[in-house]
Symmetry: C3
Subunit: 342 residues, 3 copies
């Protein structure tokens, strides 16, 4: 990332409230990771885990923790801060700032009867707000987004372009919905009657807590009779599927292309890695981790780490994989032994 304008290490240190060691007049024009930074870049070491890269960096300046100072090369200006990543955020905000999109309702937007907001709002071009929608203050709605009747949003929600927020959905404060996400659509529920399918009513709601993030083109279905619930602080990546009646706790991390089938419950602080799948009506315990592509077809105990299909303890998977590798060249010999043995 390039800065809008050149700056010096001293100016950056002042901006982020750091203590500077080395040359304050070093001129810098962008940010880069330690391994690719050059003499005009500032870089950062978020934790001691970056020590090895820090020792080899060619960065002109580095944002670091106090106890990492001896590790940084003397050719870099060292800026010591309490939280290098937070300092980076401050720096990026200052150097990336652009004229903020104006508050107000774009002339091409359309707002239904009874919808209201407190304080400021931004409704982008072609945004469509249904009837009786309630916004908190300082919400932003992107281009071409549809918010259906009777949706309730907290304050400082940011709904991207091309999203659909279906009828009656409730969003907490600071919810971020990325472009193309669908929240609260009817779930996929049928009863079969001699091979023909009849739709089960999908009249539950979809309740999204504070600080939740929902990724691009992700789909979150509303409940059938119960509600679909996503707890506060949970972050959901792109192209994820969350089916009806799913209950997700707080502070979960759900990576791209994960799928969760109907009525499954995911407790707090669970991590679901990319492309993992959870069958319906299961429970995943607090703090559990499901590895990438893991296929969960039974309950998962709190704190466990599982992978594979069917998902089981991750170390067991590794042991079984190793066992199969060792057994494969032995098959013929084992068959011979058994034959002789008969």
């Amino acid at each position: 990332m390039r800065f809008r304008a050149e700056t010096t290490a001293g100016q950056i240190s002042d901006l982020v409230g750091g203590r500077l060691f080395g040359d304050p007049n070093r001129v810098l024009d962008g940010v880069a990771p330690l391994e690719r930074a050059g003499p005009r870049h500032v870089s950062f070491a978020a934790s001691r885990g970056y020590d090895a890269k820090l020792g080899r960096t060619g960065a002109g300046a580095v944002l670091i923790l106090a106890d990492a100072e001896p590790t940084a090369p003397r050719t870099s200006t060292r800026i010591v801060v309490a939280d290098p990543l937070a300092a980076l955020g401050v720096l990026v905000s200052a150097q990336h700032s652009r004229p903020a999109d104006p508050w107000g309702v774009h002339p091409t937007a359309s707002v239904g009867r009874g919808s209201r907001w407190s304080g400021r709002i931004r409704l982008g071009p072609y945004a469509r707000i249904g009837r009786n929608v309630a916004f908190g203050t300082e919400c932003v709605v992107g281009e071409h987004t549809t918010i259906e009747d009777e949706v309730e949003l907290g304050s400082a929600c940011r709904i991207g372009a091309h999203c659909t927020i279906h009828r009656g959905v409730r969003l907490g404060d600071r919810v971020m919905v990325r472009t193309g996400a669908r929240v609260g659509g009817a779930g996929f529920g049928f009863v079969t009657d001699g091979g023909k399918y009849t739709r089960i009513p999908q009249v539950g709601n979809c309740l999204i807590g504070d600080d939740v993030e929902i990724g691009a083109n992700t789909t979150v279905d509303r409940g059938s009779l119960d509600d679909t619930v996503i707890g506060s602080g949970t972050k959901i990546d792109n192209l994820v599927q969350i089916a009806h009646n799913v209950q997700i706790g707080a502070h979960c991390m759900i990576m791209a292309q994960v799928g969760i089938a109907g009525s499954t419950t995911v407790d707090d602080a669970v991590t679901l890695a990319g492309q993992a799948g959870l069958a319906d009506h299961l429970t995943v315990g607090r703090g559990a981790v499901v590895g990438a592509q893991g296929g969960v077809i039974g309950d998962i105990a709190p704190g466990s780490t599982v992978s594979g299909y069917p998902a089981r303890d991750h170390r067991t998977v590794l042991r079984q994989t190793a066992a199969l590798r060792r057994l494969t060249p032995l098959v013929a010999a084992l068959e011979r032994i058994l034959e002789r043995d008969e």
Copy 2:
């Protein structure tokens, strides 16, 4: 789900044509599943499979089959009906009813030359209809949806918000396309010539039968020279990929995030569970079931149930999984035997 207005068990029984046992004056204000229902909820037991939950429910009233009546607790008012789920549907419709969206063309919608409909239509805000599109009666087109030139739709189709129905696609009656679905886009077909790719013409069509449902953000490509075909009554969940020239029979059930590669044929009444993948140019026989995440790389016989990668008979997968579990602790001992044996 909460009712619009309080009602009594007697009124519900009358509404659904049931026979009531117990207190008809019980006041109810919502529906809940048996295990979560309280004294002001009506619940339901769709079949005898619900008997255990029915015996323990705290619901104020229950919709049940005649022979389940002795099972329900005496604290619940029992409403006996021929089909509890159908009765639930009637009740939900009555209590969930809302002012229907009005028929007509929203002033912000745009309709191309030569497009026409019989009877009533609803075109939502910013809907875009191309040229020479033909609708049956009582179709609904959601906000921001694009229907390209020469598409033909039957009657009572419901196309959600933000959908794209590409040029010339044909939809039967009562087709439901959910928000963000893409139907009839160009498929992914290339020939390679010394490492460079040239696109194969994608000029086939995409034909969708009656009563088909296509989920949110799902993509169904048009054929290259042949057509892509989806048979009547087939239901497709969210985020599914259906490639060019795929032929799907009637009354199939295709769960979320399934992918079907080009020119594969799926016969009637097939179930593909979530995240299953089918390679190209295969045949899946009538009534077959592919388990969640199953990876199909060969033809599947009618009526079979397969899972795993590569997908094979599901019982075989279970046996092999159990065998590997038993063999894993034996590896070292088996290696020793073979060494000694040499």
Copy 3:
């Protein structure tokens, strides 16, 4: 595919510059694949790999290579060309042509200050172009598409309906983005601090080379500090996820529903089959192939072919699968031997 108007084998031969053997007056009204073609269809055999089907075809005429001429049935008119697939393209273009969509800006489209194009452009209904967007000549932007501020596009780009091209993204020449794709949205990057997640700045860019194709509802995130890069000639299918800082080389083929996690590097000419997943911070070498549903959790050497989870050499996977099949019926006997042996 049906032709707009009947034609003869002789007219087709003239059109594609072929040499004709057989009846030039044969009347034809459409194209079909060899195995489904009838006497009024023209078909094609792209290479000698089609010989068996060619020998049995009922097509009225066939587009073939010179040395395949003896293979084609005498009942078919044979049209010999240097490249049957290219000839098919010429034929399809001629017979599929329709009035091209007109150049110009639809009256419902909206263009921000400072945006400009050279030569002609087509902006569809409700397209939204932000400020300071720069187009090359002859670009097409579909219905309801959003192109944010400061995006730069080369010439002859075709952006489908309902797409989002985020702020500052750069596209080369002839880039094709299909309906509903999201290019350059913020990536999914957090640091955890006592179970709460803080977003890492996502201020890198997203750089797309010439002749790249991005499929429907696919998501390509922008970089965090680095850029996300997709090399020239790479083709990406529908519903693919490409995370922040991913670097993809030239002429790769990425099938539907693939997921690539953050900061992974994919070299030139790599093929990733459907639903494959790549973990973060890996390298996939030049020309490597990852099979369908392959789960890559380590670096992949150039030229290798891998499959399974965890992804490993494909022949090894096949050998291990066969070994497990042979070992499964032996488990009890092996356990007995070891018991006896103790």
